[in-house]
Subunit: 286 residues, 2 copies
């Protein structure tokens, strides 16, 4: 049975009881609008030994910029609940905004360096919102293991950094990106796409595949790999925020890659902004 | 027996074992150079029900400004250990700087608002250093209750705010300032004072007492209360950073006080900077 809790105190209490009963608590923080990628995170929590799994649904306002899609971000509570119930999630935490940010709230958790590039440049303040809410959710849930998706690669690295720096007593696990059969990375924002836009969005996975093939054939020049990806993405998208080769750990740009290289993409179709990535030399696309 | 641990992992492990044995863990973070004020924090941890008490000694570099006294801050490990042993402290955590800030460390925890005034103005970056290290120490220790001194009144309020905002699972307790019989607030920095400076330093407690008397007699104008305190401090000190009446919760300046008012002082004798405070209408000085 999936128990729904709204209040932070009830959430903390439910997980305290679970821990006291000897459970290893797994935690999957989400913004709702759940898809199979999120459910893979729940499975991964179990694979990491969690015997009790909590999922949070919270569209966190502080990680959206003033011109971003906070208000139109999909809210699909009933469907999310059904998915969690089917996945045998133990607790679903769905707090109100005021419960998470009561009057007087004034703390910020930030990671420097890793957030100065890529999404950090294009979404100023975004990561401070993410790290603050995740730190807070960790404080409430005190999970043994928390699972994030590599689709948000930079977010995963930033949270990993925060957790290590602040010695938060949480293991961070990450799941590879889940894709549609045609290559489109699952994302709650895919719901924004019309049928035509959905087709055009495949430019990203085509671009990633092109760079992967070249990498397998020995190409190590970042500019060449980026150019190959961009050639697929540019015609399909209305604008590109970045198509970049970066170090998979520091996220800093590189001229020449080593045996692993991160290819990251952010681009827009209409008002819909999609991100995707792959670690060349490691990930495979169908 | 007081166990000394140097590594963060050993510290975490020792407290995990204590919690697993059913102990309520109390924690007193310090920068060492322990005095009776610190020992009062240890006693308060026990009064708050702690059955296992950890003290950390760490002169945290990130809370010192470039022109402050980080390098000359007193380091008195042997005496600190002896005091902790006598006070039956269970674990003394004395990490190296590199263990707390390994290469690549890049996270910051900040509280806005409360840190924009008083010490926050005169010691830019100070509170970010404090909240980051305290958040990290809480992450390592996962104490049930942590005790702070009201001598650092603003620090206490900032840490209380951080803990509440981030839902850190720690109760924050605070102890009234401990003073010498003549009124001087205990401080590790009192060691910097020559005999003559030690006498002059009493200007602060005289100033606080003067404001207290006027408050008891019904004075509620902040400017008048500040003037009375300042009249005692100014002749004795080489410079004053602030002598201010503020709201005890928001720390914002007030024109007229309510039935409680915070009087806060920061002033220098030579290179030594002393701070002190009292809540008028609540605290008493001998």
């Amino acid at each position: 049975m999936t128990r729904i809790v709204e209040s932070p105190a009830a959430f903390r209490g439910a997980l305290e009881v679970a821990r006291a009963m000897g459970h290893r608590v797994g935690f999957v923080p989400t913004m709702g609008a759940l898809h199979d990628g999120h459910l893979a995170l729940v499975s991964e929590a179990r694979a990491q030994g969690a015997t009790f799994v909590a999922v949070s649904l919270f569209v966190n306002p502080t990680q959206f910029g003033p011109n971003e899609d906070f208000t139109r971000y999909p809210r699909t509570f009933d469907a999310d609940f059904a998915r969690c119930r089917d996945a045998k999630v133990d607790v679903l935490f769905a707090p109100m905004r005021e419960a998470m940010y009561p009057p007087g709230f004034s703390s910020v958790v930030e990671v420097k360096g890793l957030t100065d590039v890529l999404e950090g440049v294009h979404r100023p303040g975004h990561f401070a919102g993410v790290t603050t809410i995740v730190c807070k959710l960790f404080g409430l849930a005190a999970p043994c293991v928390a699972v994030f998706g590599r689709k948000d690669y930079q977010q995963w690295k930033v949270i990993e950094r925060m957790t290590r720096d602040l010695d938060l007593p949480v293991e961070i696990a990450a799941m590879p990106t889940i894709r549609e059969p045609d290559g489109l990375a699952l994302s709650s924002r895919n719901r924004y796409l019309s049928a035509d836009e959905r087709q055009r969005a495949l430019g990203i996975s085509r671009g990633i595949r092109a760079a992967m093939r070249a990498f397998e054939d020995g190409e190590r020049k970042a500019a060449s790999l980026e150019r190959l990806a961009r050639a697929e993405i540019e015609p399909a998208f209305d604008s590109i925020d970045y198509v970049a080769i970066a170090d998979p750990e520091t996220l800093q740009p590189v001229d020449r890659t080593g045996e692993r290289a991160l290819l990251v993409v952010a681009a827009k179709i209409g008002k819909t902004r999609l991100i995707d990535n792959a670690v060349l030399g490691e990930d495979r696309l169908a």
